[in-house]
């Protein structure tokens, strides 16, 4: 085999990990779609097929303790962060062994142990939350970033504009990743947006904004590595527009008649999974046998996940009366402990209000006073 002109900067280990995670999402979603048609999954079920690179690249580029949250197209990120596939599938099935005891379903996956702070069903509703989580990190002087996903259509929500303004003004360590799959349900983004290149909107808030090839996991990885370093250095938020495509309809209920077969076929040629495999093989960082082994293992893992979900009981009716109001002294639920009996050790914990020293000067006084003086005011 011919050696590539430039050696790849990536380890075989990293490439195979990324491959495994993307393939896991693909396989999981294919099986979820199938289970939906069998009537095992109900409600809205939004598949991630085609967009795998947008979740996996960033997740490999950040730290375990970094926060993440997303919209309702939310199976991919937790799977890539290490959530138990069986418990995610059980949530889709509405079973008591799901991450939220079957109370949230497909649109509301939460796995706090793996720092996945949820899927949200109101378009754009998670965008302010992410700034608040980043605010908390800044407030406690932690070295942590928040990664927040949202769709192209969500970019037209007021919540985004209000939040970008604050995040930039207060230099909050948050990375916004717009998953531009070119449609909001059946509406092409260009039909409803005066500026369809979402990344350009960052400029209005003096915020860093860039487009990224969302069909290339390595490009996503590099973009987020760089953005995370920027955030951790205190330079403020970053908006990345990941240009991607969903191969399936908006949700399982959508036959996607608003776009041509041709368009979908063209886009499928950019499938991020074979793309990574080709890259690895070309660079001598993986052989066919490696990928076949991974695929076999993942298939078995997803089969087991479906079986686990299918064999799990529905939540007990007593669950109706839990998790609405936190009673005094009531602890938080740790799902893997509750369901699998696994000791969960990396649950987030924070300094008490007596230990915490807030040193952040969000609006330095001298600066404010100077501005006053200039305006001829006295305090």
């Amino acid at each position: 085999m011919e050696a590539p002109a430039v050696a790849s900067p990536y380890s075989k280990d990293l490439l195979l990990t990324m491959y495994r995670k993307m393939y896991l999402i693909r396989r999981f979603e294919e099986r979820a779609g199938q289970q939906y048609t069998l009537g095992k999954i109900a409600g809205f079920c939004h598949l991630y097929i085609g967009q795998e690179a947008v979740a996996v690249g960033p997740i490999e580029a950040i730290r375990k303790e970094d926060y993440m949250l997303s919209a309702y197209r939310d199976h991919g990120q937790p799977l890539a962060r290490g959530s138990d596939a069986g418990m995610v599938m059980a949530e889709l099935f509405g079973r008591g062994t799901g991450y939220s005891k079957g109370k949230g379903g497909s649109m509301h996956i939460f796995d706090i142990e793996h720092q996945f702070y949820g899927g949200y069903g109101i378009v754009g509703g998670q965008i302010p939350l992410a700034a608040g989580m980043a605010f908390a990190s800044r407030y406690r002087n932690e070295d942590r970033v928040t990664v927040c996903y949202f769709g192209d259509a969500a970019a037209n929500q007021g919540a985004l504009h209000e939040t970008f303004n604050m995040a930039s003004k207060w230099k909050l360590p948050v990375i916004y990743i717009c998953e531009n799959n070119r449609y909001g349900m059946g509406t092409a983004i260009s039909r409803t947006s005066a500026v369809p290149e979402i990344y350009k909107r960052a400029a209005a808030y003096d915020m860093r904004g860039e487009p990224v090839d969302g069909m290339d996991v390595l490009k996503m990885y590099e973009a987020v590595k760089d953005a995370a370093a920027w955030c951790r250095a205190g330079k403020g938020p970053v908006l990345l527009e990941a240009n991607t495509y969903r191969f399936r309809g908006h949700s399982m209920a959508d036959p996607a008649t608003y776009r041509s077969k041709q368009e979908v076929e063209e886009e499928r040629k950019g499938d991020p999974i074979p793309k990574l495999r080709d890259y690895a093989i070309k660079n001598g960082l993986g052989a066919d046998a490696d990928f076949e082994r991974i695929e076999e293992e993942v298939k078995a893992q997803v089969d087991a996940a479906v079986k686990f979900a299918d064999e799990s009981p529905e939540p007990s009716l007593e669950e109706l009366w839990r998790d609405t109001i936190v009673e005094p002294g009531e602890p938080d639920v740790r799902p893997r402990e509750r369901v699998l009996g696994t000791k969960v050790t990396n649950w987030p914990s924070y300094p008490s209000g007596q230990e915490l020293k807030v040193t952040w000067d969000l609006e330095p006084r001298e600066q404010a006073e100077l501005a006053d003086k200039k305006a001829g005011l006295t305090r």
Binding site: G125, L129, G132, T324, G353, A368
Partner: protein
Amino acid sequence: MPELMYREALNQALAEEMERDANVFLIGEEVGRYNGAFKVSQGLLDKFGSARIIDAPISELGFGGMSVGAAMVGLRPVVEMMTWNFAILAMDQIVNNAAKLRHMSGGQLRCPIVFRGPGGAGGRLSSQHSQALESNYAHFPGLKVIAPATPADAKGMLKAAIRDENPVIMFEGERLYALKGEVPEGEHVVPLGKADVKREGTDVTVITWSRMYYFCMQAAEELAKEGISVEVLDLRTLRPLDEEAILASVRKTNRAVIVEEGWALAGIGASVVDIIQSKAFDELDAPVERVTGLDVNMSYAANLENATQPDAPKIIAAVKKVLYRQGA
């Protein structure tokens, strides 16, 4: 006991809780350098600095939601809404996120946050600025809703709200801020969910909260002169309702009048009537009466504004009605 204005009582509660717990911060429009649109946060910026007393842009949805996010990861935000009329813009974050996080996460997350600000008629401000909106929020499971009438309750309930592990919606009142009353110093915490008999009586129970409380007390004074003994029950918390206190008082007096600043349809009073009719029907000597704001938008003109709201004469008439003493 020192006498404080309602706004000073709130200020004291905020200062004490922020002193006690560095996770507590206050965010809102004009809370910092302006010292608060209604001066509730007077002096707090100097005391706690700009990371804990935060002047927000006019983005209720944005800073409301941002604060919910901060509460999800361990902070305890107090969000000042300049008035509840403006908080309507933040309703998505309050209702769809704050109230549902515990549920959607299957008990993994909590959201200890206080949204507070003045509700009710401000005085000659017309319809957009004069609304009693508490019944909207009382509708939602996952929230607690409070509306203290007195300075002492304002302090004690704000302290309890900040310490609560759930989202708490607090209705203050533009026309309550300057009212004075005795306020216990230091550790004075009034538990949420408990109504308070503010005046004992035997003939009729008048149930109310927030600013209407003062009209009820005025009516009770007047009626006492006619030999009518009115019990005034201040609900203080509107979600959850203190059913026990409501029923105990009605079982004693056998008659009830509910006084509410807001509109009648889908009002809190309707739920109170429901509790009474379903659990104490046999003990009633008369149908329950409601005194509410008229079913119209609030006008600017002084006479129209006054006529729109409940007042002591309307309450007196309702009390006489349930006593079958009309025209007496």
